[in-house]
């Protein structure tokens, strides 16, 4: 299951930190952050609850880069 979300972040290095953070979130199989199109593509593990996983992804992203946003709702 793959989904694409719009994100907002200012610097490219922060975007790759977000990618790393999203990848390491439980329930996420793989994640790619595209700084140029400001999009995050998340591949979920089978049976993961998307809403709660994305809430966790956002939380983890904010930890590594306080000034970022993931629009998952």
């Amino acid at each position: 299951m793959k989904k694409t979300y719009k994100i907002d972040v200012d610097c490219a290095n922060c975007a790759s930190k977000m990618e790393e953070a999203a990848k390491n979130t439980e329930g996420v199989k793989d994640a790619v952050v595209n700084f140029m199109t400001l999009k995050m593509k998340v591949e979920f593990e089978d049976g993961a609850d998307i809403e709660s996983v994305m809430a966790k992804v956002t939380e983890n992203c904010k930890k590594v880069e306080s000034d970022c946003e993931v629009f998952y709702k």
Partner: protein, 627 residues
């Protein structure tokens, strides 16, 4: 400029002005310290705030945190030494200028590239009950609906023209500036601009499945398939910052302690200052921004030229292509048959073609079509009857009372007509006999595309070492085409599976895998070969889903010169990427060394950080100029 950028610009101007004013004010001591803090906080409050959050979230290598440590450290040193706060504040100021410029430039190029890709209209017009135009969301238009496209509008969905004539501007999709004429029953693809007449189009695909939406989706996805260079940068960035930060700590402690032990005196402030310059250079921003930007700009510009690259990784591989394997039919040649010569016995050329075309009147075989096209005037009042198709032989019919045989040598042998060998060119020979007597033959052959001539020479200019042509066609045809175009090597009479094994052989014969082998085909029956080669290039793919699916690079029209465009563009883009990698890493290492020896001060460090980032971004934007 967005709101955030405007506010930041004002902050930059205000603090710069304050700094200038303070420079001329004769203030000293505590008052001087406090008044210098004002511009520092104006310009740096967000960095300090983020630094605090960085500590809270245990992010020791947060860019803002390092910047905050560097500037606060510099202020503390100034307080301790000479009261020159300008440097610390200026460092913060220039850092913000650099950040501002980065955000502005990236936003700007993001917008430019989005405009390049703006091929999807967001409205469609359908015919209302009383024949009036009714605006709808293209997503809601069902297959088989009739949409109206007025002059100047973009076609929103793929379909077939049911009413009207017009010219279409296909530049946004194919990069081709020559308009294409369309009439009733012609297929049209979304993304083209209708130039002059009103068109009524019966849609054949949903919006999401239409060419324009597909293409757009593909380009947006492309930069998610990251190239090796991008992976390298990501890995580099992950180790670079920690290494520089730890070196800074070492620099602040080890040399002065050794000097102290050696009795050289107290040198801690000097070394701490040098360590602080390290922190400023510790952000890998220049690389992290400019490399993806280069790829993104390159892919955007390529799509504008009619070359769709399905991933940054493919752009990178494409630039390293050394061998190109071509499919012949439909790629180097037009893939349609034309009458290229007529050799009559007894009767005139016109008469021979005339009879042959009439006999083939009801056939839809490609050769029949070419005969009819060459003759043109089909409805000339001649009577054609008793048409009979003899499989594996040809066609016979009675034309104006005479029995005419059109077919191959077997047909001629069957009726006992004495046929003669064609001494001329290569191709398929169509023999004609009238009432059992041989009347001559017509030569029909696939025509080489005009732009295939000179293609090989152009390709060699851009680093292509070897060109190979694969074809299922006969030896004499293949050799003629290969010779005309100047192909280095060709293999004829191949079955589709032979093409795959030929490509595999070429792949296994190369000395190392960085010598990329590309395969170019028209995408109709080459899908296995397209996916087997290092990089598969499909051409003439406008509207063909299978080809778009199988290939890594898609040329929207069937002009082989686009291969040159694609390779030249990819090479340029990759050159820019490498320039940026070497330049940014080189300058950073240079300033780290200079900083360690105390030759470069914080001003130099700021240049190595934001100055380099700005230069790299400007360089990356050159990728937009694909030509």
């Amino acid at each position: 400029m967005n709101k955030k950028q405007k506010i930041n610009l004002i902050r930059i101007i205000v603090s710069a002005a304050l700094l200038l004013i303070l420079h001329f004010l004769p203030i000293h001591g505590v008052l001087r310290f406090i008044s210098y803090l004002v511009p520092y906080f104006i310009i740096g409050y967000d960095v300090l705030l983020k630094a605090y959050k960085g500590i809270k979230n245990k992010q020791p290598f947060d860019e803002s945190l390092l910047m905050a440590i560097a500037t606060i450290g510099a202020i503390a040193l100034a307080l301790y030494e000479d009261g020159d706060y300008v440097e610390a504040i200026a460092v913060m100021l220039f850092y913000q200028v650099g950040e501002w410029f980065q955000s502005y430039a990236v936003g700007k190029s993001r917008k430019n590239i989005a405009e390049l890709m703006d091929i999807c209209p967001d409205v469609a017009f359908i015919e209302g009950e009383n024949g009036e135009k009714e605006e709808v969301d293209p997503d809601d238009v069902e297959i088989g609906s009739i949409i109206i496209v007025s002059p100047g509008e973009k076609i929103p969905l793929d379909g077939v023209v049911v009413e009207g004539n017009s010219s279409l501007d296909t530049a946004a999709l194919t990069g081709e500036s020559l308009p294409r004429d369309v009439k009733e029953n012609d297929e049209v693809v979304s993304g083209c601009i209708n130039i002059n007449g009103v068109l009524k189009i019966k849609t054949t695909k949903e919006f999401g499945e239409s060419t324009a939406s597909k293409v757009l989706e593909m380009i947006e996805d492309a930069s998610s398939r990251k190239s090796k260079s991008e992976d390298f940068i990501t890995k580099f960035a992950r180790v670079y910052t920690p290494i520089v930060v730890y070196s800074a700590i070492a620099l602040a402690i080890i040399p002065p302690t050794i000097l102290l032990i050696l009795g050289q005196g107290m040198t801690y402030p000097t070394w701490i200052y040098r360590a602080l310059t390290f922190l400023i250079i510790s952000c890998p921003c220049a690389l992290v921004v400019s490399i993806p930007l280069s790829f993104f700009a390159g892919i955007g510009a390529a799509s504008r030229a009619g070359v769709l690259v399905k991933g940054s990784s493919f752009l990178e591989i494409l630039s390293k292509t050394e061998t190109i394997v071509f499919d012949k039919t439909g790629t180097l040649t037009k893939g349609v048959f034309d009458v290229t010569d007529i050799h009559p016995d007894l009767i005139s050329k016109e008469e021979l073609l005339h009879l042959a075309a009439h006999v083939e009147r009801f056939s839809s075989h490609p050769i029949a079509v070419s005969l009819k096209n060459a003759f043109g005037n089909e409805a000339d009042g001649c009577t054609v009857s008793d048409v009979e198709e003899i499989s594996g032989r040809g066609v016979t019919a009675i034309v104006n009372g005479k029995k005419v045989y059109v077919g191959n040598t077997k047909l001629m042998d069957d009726i006992g007509a004495k046929w003669s060998e064609c001494k001329g060119d290569f191709g398929t020979i169509v023999h004609v006999a009238i009432d059992g007597i041989y009347a001559g033959h017509i030569l029909v052959s696939d025509v080489i595309k005009d732009s295939s001539i000179g293609l090989v020479k152009e390709l060699k200019k851009y680093g292509i070492k070897k060109t190979v042509m694969l074809t299922g066609d006969k030896e004499n045809v293949a050799s003629k085409v290969a010779k005309t175009i100047g192909i280095d090597e060709y293999h004829s009479e191949l079955l589709p599976q032979d093409k795959v094994s030929r490509v595999e052989q070429i792949l296994s014969e190369r000395t190392d895998s960085t010598r990329v082998v590309a395969f170019v085909g028209d995408g109709i029956n080459d899908a296995p070969v397209l996916s087997r080669a290092d990089i598969g290039i499909a051409m003439g793919a406008m509207g063909s889903d299978a080809a778009i699916e199988a290939a890594d690079v898609v040329l929207m029209d069937d002009d082989p010169k686009k291969i040159v465009t694609a390779i030249r563009g990819s090479r340029k883009c990759l050159r820019i990427v490498y320039e940026n990698i070497y330049f940014a890493i080189g300058i950073k290492i240079l300033f780290l060394i200079l900083g360690a020896f105390g030759i470069a001060n914080m001003w130099g460090a700021v240049f190595a950080d934001v100055g380099v980032a700005v230069l790299c971004i400007l360089n990356a934007i050159r990728c937009l100029l694909w030509k």
